[in-house]
């Protein structure tokens, strides 16, 4: 299958807008699950307003949240897919710019030193574009994640040492959730990276934070940590918006990678309750949009 870069540009534009307006079904279901178990009346009220907002965004065709985030595009190239990588990157960037100018969207992206906003949601190294390959698929998939700053500003890396063991990982996650308080717009998806190099560890935390609810770490050790930590952080009582309650996190997600004999890194990256993402899948029959 050959993928036309004009179609990629159009998809990159549509995906940004779609991600900002439609919350994935797994996140909606996550609200239902939390609301059923919530014992605090204020927290139940807050969850109710969040759910109402999802309906208002859909009925008024508006953005769920004002924060258009830092645009991230995750491209997965399947078997037998022919694509010009350079043209693909340029097409994604153009689509991202067009979404910003044509919708229009607030450009939340500035130069880190001058703070100049080009009003295009683009800049040096932004949009963030990741490439991966999938031998099992014969499609090209583009996932778009507008990563909001309230949650992104609460990101941490700790280069723990082997003598501290897995206890260091667990304590770190609990302490990050405490430090984040209401700043991350809880209930959150707490993404945890365990192992790797420093940069890989942080990347894993982001992958974990943006993974659909209901999915589990492929590494059984990671999956075990997910279950334990999800229960633990929801006993802290931070609650929705940091105003108290049981619903601090939809889930703790963990991703793992092998690490060095001398290292024990752990990273945390959070996703807010507006856990937005959208997906376009290019097949020989056309482009399908989903989550």
């Amino acid at each position: 299958m050959r993928v036309d870069s004009r179609e990629v540009e159009e998809a990159a534009k549509q995906l940004y807008i779609r991600a900002l307006k439609l919350l994935p079904p797994d996140v909606k279901q996550g609200f239902d699950t939390l609301a059923r178990g919530e014992t605090d009346a204020t927290a139940r009220g807050i969850l109710g307003v969040m759910v109402r907002n999802i309906a208002v965004a859909e009925s008024t065709d508006n953005l769920l949240c004002q924060d258009t985030g830092i645009p991230i595009y995750n491209v997965t190239i399947g078997k037998g897919v022919e694509v010009d990588g350079v043209a693909l990157k340029e097409a994604i960037r153009r689509g991202c710019e067009r979404a910003t100018r044509e919708h229009p969207l607030r450009s939340s992206v500035v130069h880190p030193v001058t703070r100049k906003n080009e009003h295009s949601s683009c800049g040096r190294g932004v949009p963030v574009i990741h490439f991966d390959f999938d031998g099992a698929a014969d499609t090209l998939a583009i996932e778009m994640v507008p990563k909001g700053s309230g949650s992104e500003n609460n990101s941490w890396l700790r280069m723990a040492i082997p003598a501290e063991g897995v206890a260091a990982v667990k304590a770190f996650v609990v302490d990050c959730v405490l430090d984040a308080g209401g700043k991350t717009c809880p209930p959150t998806i707490v993404g945890v990276g365990v192992g790797g190099t420093a940069d890989l560890c942080v990347h894993l935390a982001k992958v974990a934070a943006t993974r659909p609810l209901g999915t589990h770490c492929e590494d059984p050790e990671g999956a075990k940590l997910e279950a334990e930590l999800t229960a633990a952080v929801n006993r802290l009582g931070v609650g929705p918006q940091g105003l108290g309650g049981d619903s601090t996190a939809f889930a703790v997600h963990v991703e793992t990678a092998a690490t060095h004999i001398t290292m024990n890194p752990v990273a945390v990256n959070m996703q807010c309750h507006s856990a937005r993402r959208a997906r376009a899948t290019f097949t020989p029959a056309g482009v399908e949009y989903g989550f």
Binding site: N53, H103, P104, N153, C185, A232, L236, G242, L243, S274
Partner: protein, 204 residues
């Protein structure tokens, strides 16, 4: 827990009546303010032509659309999506906002810290919590963008919105030293050792 309907600007006495846990719905005028707005106002000596005395400011930078100026859209901006950002980054600006500009109410999400709580107590102010991330709903409470200042900082301009039925907002911090955020944080930290023990980790 009482509910209040305020039309801005408000008086010191009105604000001093508010206690944490009360709710407030605002009508009239609301000013949008953000990181860059306040960095320029308080660190770089810029001033605004707006009179903020007795008013409410909201931590925001909206999505707007450029339109031909009209009575409905006098600035040439129509609101698209107006929401609320994390307040904690703007902690150090609460004191000067109140002292130099006479602001009475700060609206945001996630809460403010001890310095802001002191400012609310000394000068008569309160923090009203929006449910963060519910901007589609919040936008329905905005009637128009009436005016804009410091617009070279767009989208972090100083916005003047006309609002109707903006709320209910939860009083998260009051002028009597009450803060829901401080209380929830202290309670959560008091559970830390137990939670770590449930994970087989000894608290240090």
């Amino acid at each position: 827990m009482a509910h209040f309907e305020f039309t801005t600007p408000v008086t010191e006495a009105q604000v001093r009546d508010l206690k944490v846990g009360d709710t407030v719905t605002l009508h009239g005028t609301l000013f949008g303010i953000r990181d860059a707005t306040q960095i320029h106002m308080f660190d770089r000596g810029r001033t605004t032509r707006f009179d903020l005395r007795g008013h409410a400011v909201i931590h925001t930078a909206p999505n707007v659309k450029k339109v031909p100026p009209s009575p409905e859209h006098p600035t040439g901006y129509a609101p698209v999506c107006v929401g609320t950002t994390t307040s904690a980054r703007m902690e150090r600006f609460t004191q000067p906002l109140m002292l130099q500009y006479g602001v009475r109410l700060v609206i945001g999400k996630g809460g403010l810290g001890a310095d802001s709580l002191d400012a609310f107590r000394e000068h008569g102010g309160a923090y009203l919590a929006v449910i963060g991330g519910t901007a589609a709903l919040e936008t329905t409470w905005i009637e128009a963008i009436e005016d804009v200042d410091l617009d070279d900082l767009n989208p972090e301009s100083l916005w003047r919105f006309r609002i109707r039925g903006f709320g209910p907002l939860l009083v998260g911090m009051d002028s009597q030293g009450g803060s829901l955020y401080r209380d929830v944080d202290a309670a959560a930290r008091s559970r830390r050792a137990d939670v770590l023990a449930s994970l087989g980790v000894k608290a240090r």
